[in-house]
């Protein structure tokens, strides 16, 4: 069967991959649609759930922009972590529900990535109790950090502050991303509805405009469903 593909078809098919289109889309189309159909940023952290599996190995991906955006600011952050290494390790051991935690500097942000068991609020509360002084040292270097330090005296405000900087966790399935947006808008209908699935790319682009840093998917786990306490017990680590 002869192809009905003409030169203009070929040209247009290649268009989305061109720098020109990406430039126009980034600077004209995306701002236009963001004004026309504004989206709210989706909240960070794991979804609330009663199920056991959803409450172990939860992710926290904290991105905190430094006040001093230079090598000096980054060095201050690195020093704050290095000076408190013993306090961090002892604190994490005492919290007991953390699988792993690490600090990373990306650009002019100090980031804390961790995997923990249980409720997010309790996790931060435990941290304040065990390594509040470390948090104070780090958060003072971060934009708006002075509003919530010392964290021991601003517990609720500090928890909210951390939550607002915890990345939105894009679901594993594209359609669950739509469900998150619908839930944010109070739309919980299932069927029948009048959706337009072809708008999914635009919705994703606009969410990524509103929420520049996100975590992609729920991540891989080698032993999903097990808490740090269970792993330690089965490995006989004498915890």
């Amino acid at each position: 069967m002869p192809s009905d593909e003409g030169p203009l078809d070929r040209l247009v098919d290649r268009l989305p991959g061109t720098r020109l289109f990406k430039f126009l889309a980034s600077w004209i189309l995306v701002p236009y649609w963001a004004r026309r159909t504004p989206v709210q940023p989706l909240q960070g952290g794991p979804h609330p759930s009663f199920e056991h599996g959803d409450n172990v190995q939860c992710m926290m991906n904290l991105i905190m922009p430094l006040k001093v955006k230079s090598p000096i600011g980054r060095a201050e952050a690195a020093l704050a972590i290095a000076q408190n290494k013993d306090a961090i390790f002892a604190g994490l051991n005492n919290v007991g529900t953390v699988h792993f935690a690490r600090f990373v500097i990306v650009g002019d942000n100090i980031c804390m990535f961790s995997v923990y068991d249980g409720d997010f609020t309790n996790y931060i509360r435990d941290f304040i109790a065990t390594i509040g002084s470390v948090f104070n040292a780090v958060v003072e270097l971060v934009e708006d950090g002075e509003k919530v330090t010392p964290c021991e005296k601003n517990v609720e405000a500090f928890i909210q502050w951390v939550h607002e900087r915890d990345l939105y966790q894009v679901p594993d399935t594209a359609t669950d991303f739509l469900r998150d947006q619908e839930a944010l808008n109070g739309d919980r209908a299932v069927s029948p509805v009048k959706d337009d699935l072809t708008q999914l790319p635009r919705k994703l682009v606009l969410q990524l405009r509103a929420n520049a840093n996100v975590s992609l998917g729920s991540g891989y786990r080698a032993y999903p469903g097990f808490s740090a306490a269970q792993v330690r017990e089965r490995l006989g680590l004498g915890w």
């Binding site: 009905d4 593909e5 399935t173 359609t175 669950d176 069927s191 699935l197 072809t198 891989y220 469903g225």
Partner: protein
Amino acid sequence: MVDTSVAKQLVEAIIGNLPAPVPGKRPVHTIGVGVKGEFVASDVARTYCVAEHFNGQTIRLSARFSNGLGGLEQHDGWSDVRGMAVRFHLPDGTGSDLIATTLGEFFVRTVADFFEFAEVAKLEPYRRRHWLLKIADFLRLKVPPRNPYPNETQSVDAGALRYADRHRFSQLGIFQVGLIGAPESYARASYHAVHTFWVTAPDGVRRPVRFSWQPVAGVRNIGPADVSRDKYLFDELRDRLQRWPARFMLMMTIGEEGDALDDCTKPWPATRVRVAMGTLTLTEVPEDQEAAGERISFNPCRLAPGIEASDDPILEARLGAYEASREMRGGCPFKWRKDDANAK
């Protein structure tokens, strides 16, 4: 159980939407290849399930890999759901089947949903979208519909999208179908049984589970430039197995309270406990494909003691629909139980 008339209607609804039904053949997944192999359960499998093929001995098996499309036209390079049906041949002469596809979630919850889907997602003429309309899509930050595959004149895509726009439960499955692509090899795709089953452990504990096959060779699709390759999957598998066996790991995910046990449109979270139940090794593509793949009648509800079907209405409907389809095409009946005298 879904009564036989409904089961027949289901099969007829599928046949009625085919471009060219082929009497005596499977209405969908018509093109396929039968393979011989064996399965060895992992050391822990027997602690979760008492079914005989999980007790650790080597179990002979028959597998059939297939393209999802109905009809005799073979378009391996087209984006399509692929099937992997496995029959574990148990030592007492009975069998236990596990039917999986590359689709992670199904797109309807019930038989009524399916009939509505069949009504909406009819074959329609499929043409290249005009370039001006594509530009309009780009300006709206939308992705235009794909170009037709070589020689493709009809498709259910538009109807399926209309159905998905009305029913959110169907969106994940239909969205996945749209992106599924074509595997480089039948041995380089993951296959999911989509339904929930109940397995019984030696201590009597029953657990809701979902099964998936994961290829040891890794998952890999062909690129868009290879979409016109119509026939490569059978030869690739034959050549591959002549050089070296192909392996799959059987992964079993254990559901929790609150997970969708009877709804195959809903995925389970990735945080559920996952157990490696064993390794399947494919060894040979037999010459006699009639016996190795075409005459075998798989059924997702043919299960060894120790595994039970959930109350998923689609799984229940498949029990009857597969039997109705087998009768219509003259497929080989199979012993469901040890005392089943009507079959071999």
